[in-house]
């Protein structure tokens, strides 16, 4: 059966919480896991779930994102009835508006949704790492005759106050939603994944757009409004690995999670994470290479020591270099006698001979894209 569902990925703004990592690229294009970009996860989930038409809403560096996504072929989304569409805020007759919030971003692209005319719209956020079959959630939505279905995940009770918490009745219908409650009534947190029946969503977005008091946000405005109207909102409970990578610390931690002897989710199984391919050869391990508890990707040359680290494609790690508990992004060079510890080194950097890049847990050191770090900076950094 052909899917009648369209996905909209909120690929968001500049990703300021990721700081210097998003100086040159939009947050969804930030590298993750030795091979991927963050947006590979929702895109692969869509493709694997049989959802072939995806809008990517971004207002920051659309060209770079467009260059990465290309025609969607890497995810097999280059279909007659599908495709990946980058949707930045266009100039209109009245001039261009920035997206004023998540709901406004979808509202401004209602004509895109209408052109595709799907029965359901799946709204996703672009900064989570997880693998999920959305078709099951869609089935639940249909079976419940729901107007909206919200993906939820159980979080530890102690962490619940950090999330938007859903309270459901026994049938799974949402009776109450609290944003960051001090005394949570449940520990089911919203994952920022929504299925809407299209006409229903349309109605609420149009009303919200007219409301000058609204902040035009799904969590803050749209969902509470729907609940107030006693609409049929259901929760769909997801079990598995789900991680927000919106901050430097969480991005680093999510990378480290993959290094466990048994990784928290399978990257290499039937639910394959697709990613734009660079056509690089298998990596080369030199005579003195020493790599343990690490992920290493294609096209790299490892001559030194790598421990508990994630190495992206095209990286070169020289003899006598040491990389520990770190993430080294594509095409970065790490010179002889260097030490990189508890760090994220972005793309195309040069860590020159003898230089040291040392962070610590809770204060991960970040080297921004294209930078050169020389040994001369060691003292300064130590100071």
């Amino acid at each position: 059966m052909k899917t009648s569902c369209l996905a909209m990925i909120l690929a968001g703004g500049q990703g300021s919480r990721l700081g210097v990592l998003t100086k040159k690229i939009a947050k969804p294009a930030v590298p993750f896991g030795g091979k991927y970009r963050i947006i590979d996860f929702p895109l692969s989930n869509c493709a694997n779930s049989g959802i072939h038409r995806v809008g990517v809403l971004t207002q920051y560096r659309p060209l770079e994102l467009h260059n990465y996504l290309g025609n969607g072929s890497a995810w097999d989304l280059d279909r007659k009835d599908g495709g990946v569409f980058i949707l930045p805020p266009y100039a209109r007759e009245k001039g261009a508006d920035w997206y004023r919030g998540t709901a406004d971003a979808i509202y401004q692209n209602l004509n895109f949704i209408e052109a595709a005319d799907p029965a359901y719209v799946l709204v996703l956020s672009g900064d989570h790492i997880y693998t999920m079959d959305y078709s099951w959630m869609l089935d639940a939505h249909k079976q419940n005759k729901a107007e909206a279905t919200i993906g939820v995940i159980e979080v530890p009770w102690t962490e619940a106050p950090r999330f938007g918490i859903m309270n459901m009745d026994t049938a799974g219908r949402i009776v109450d939603f609290e944003e960051k409650p001090k005394k949570p009534k449940s520990n089911f947190a919203s994952m920022g994944i929504y299925v809407f029946t299209t006409s229903f969503l349309q109605r609420y977005l149009e009303a919200d757009a007219k409301n000058s008091h609204s902040s035009h946000d799904f969590g803050k405005d749209i969902i509470p409004r729907m609940l107030a109207d006693k609409a049929r909102l259901f929760a769909y409970s997801f079990e598995g690995y789900w991680k927000d990578v919106g901050t430097i610390e969480s991005l680093w931690q999510a990378n480290m999670d993959l290094l466990q002897d048994k990784p928290p989710f399978e990257m290499d199984g039937e639910w394959r994470i697709h990613s734009s391919n660079l056509s690089l050869p298998p990596h080369y391990m030199g005579p003195e290479a020493r790599v343990t508890s690490s992920l290493v990707n294609e096209g790299s040359v490892i001559l030194g020591e790598v421990e508990n680290s994630v190495i992206f494609p095209g990286v070169r790690i020289a003899r006598t270099a040491r990389v520990h508990n770190s993430v080294v992004m594509p095409f970065t060079m790490i010179g002889e006698g260097t030490l990189v510890e508890h760090a994220i080194v972005a793309q195309n950097c040069i860590i020159a001979g003898g230089a040291q890049v040392i962070g610590k847990p809770g204060a991960i050191k970040v080297v921004p894209e294209g930078e050169t770090v020389s040994a001369a900076a060691n003292n300064q950094q130590a100071g």
Binding site: G33, G34, K35, S73, D261, P263, M267, D268, R272, I273, H274, S275, N277, L278, S279, L280, P281, P282, H283, Y284, M285, G286, P287, E288, A289, R290, V291, T292, S293, S294, L295, V296, N297, E298, G299, V301, V306, V310, I311
Partner: protein, 368 residues
């Protein structure tokens, strides 16, 4: 290069490399961790701007069809032109074996194409080159046929075609020799000519009982056509025997050759599998090796090639070996001078050892 059509010939005597070609032509033998040998000729064509490629299928076509599929991974899945499979003639009465017959029975397709030139390459030679230089050379020399060769960097016990050329590149002799010596000019089995010359050569040679494109079509015509030799100076390996396959595999473990072949020139494309990065676990110890994505390594590997999805368990030792796709080496197994074909399982504590000049070959799907 929109004026050039590519033809990849996959028919080649493969008697010297029997174990690896029982179910496949040489062109689809896995190579260098994630490639098949045909990827090199095909990628060079694509990177040179050739957008219309015919693949002359061998009898054993299954592995080729499964590897190339739609041609999309080589950017050759197109509405117009792109990849086209040219199957061998239906009834093979055993007379006139050889690659000429397949060319002859596909002349229709070649006749219908619009490109001015044909570039014919063999799927069993490894290189990464830009054919547009060959076209420029061909046009500048006013050649009828241009043959691409390289200068042998060492003696090679495998048979090959040796050229002699004049100063200006004109080929003065073509000889099939049982072994190659250092510094000889060896044909890379790449030919460039106009479509019309190709059609004339094939038709004339086949209809007069010829079997082989080089021996019967080209070599017998040296007087009627101006044949020029174009020298390619990158890494070249001709896979003609198990030993030459093993040697070429060990060659790419040299960082210098690995870089020249894969990184310094245009990309080499292959079937995309989106496998995850290699997982090195706590007990891994890997040196002097190429390791492809999807591997999980807990043991020791030295001077070896691990293809996609290989599992090396704890206590395993691998040395001077080629371990193809999805093999599993269980705890404390040992492999030295071994070639494991796809999906081989070496169970716990089993030891396999070949000689450096006579690697032990373990066939596809075997469990030891």
């Amino acid at each position: 290069m929109k004026s050039v059509m590519g033809l990849v010939n996959l028919q080649k005597k493969d008697t010297l490399i029997k174990e690896l070609t029982e179910n496949r032509p040489i062109a689809s033998i896995p190579f260098a961790g994630r490639y098949r040998i045909i990827d090199f000729a095909l990628s060079s064509m694509v990177n040179s701007g050739i957008g219309n490629v015919g693949v002359l299928l061998p009898e054993k076509s299954r592995s080729v069809l499964d590897h190339l599929r739609s041609g999309k991974d080589w950017d050759l899945a197109r509405h117009h032109d792109g990849l086209c499979y040219l199957p061998p003639p239906i009834t093979d009465d055993g007379t006139q074996p050889g690659n000429l017959k397949n060319c002859y029975y596909n002349l229709d397709f070649i006749n219908h194409s619009t490109e001015k030139y044909i570039l014919l390459a063999n799927g069993s030679v490894i290189y990464n080159m830009d054919f547009s230089n060959v076209l420029r050379f061909h046009q500048n020399t006013n050649a009828d046929i241009t043959m691409v060769y390289n200068v042998a960097s060492r003696d090679d016990p495998g048979a090959g075609v040796v050229l002699e050329t004049a100063e200006n590149g004109l080929v003065t002799d073509i000889a099939l020799k049982p072994a190659i010596r250092e510094d000889e000019k060896v044909s890379m089995c790449v030919y460039l000519m106009t479509r019309q010359v190709f059609i004339d050569l094939v038709r004339d040679a086949f209809e007069h009982g010829g079997c082989d494109f080089l021996l019967d079509a080209v070599m017998r015509q040296t007087k009627d056509y101006a044949i020029y030799g174009y020298a390619h100076d990158g890494y070249v390996a001709r896979i003609t025997s198990t030993i030459s396959y093993y040697q070429a595999s060990m060659d790419v473990l040299e960082p210098e050759i690995w870089e020249e072949l894969f990184l310094r020139r245009a990309s080499v494309y292959t079937k995309i599998k989106d496998r995850a990065p290699v997982q090195y676990k706590e007990t891994a110890r890997v040196t002097n090796s190429l390791v492809a994505n999807g591997c999980i390594v807990r043991g020791e590997v030295d001077h070896s090639i691990l293809f996609r999805g290989v599992e090396i368990e704890k206590g395993v030792k691998v040395k001077n070996s080629i371990i193809m796709q999805c093999c599993v080496l269980q705890q404390n197994a040992l492999a030295e001078n071994v070639i494991c074909d796809k999906n081989v399982v070496i169970t716990r504590d089993k030891w396999l050892k070949g000689a450096p000049n006579y690697p032990l070959i373990v066939g596809k799907n075997i469990v030891i």
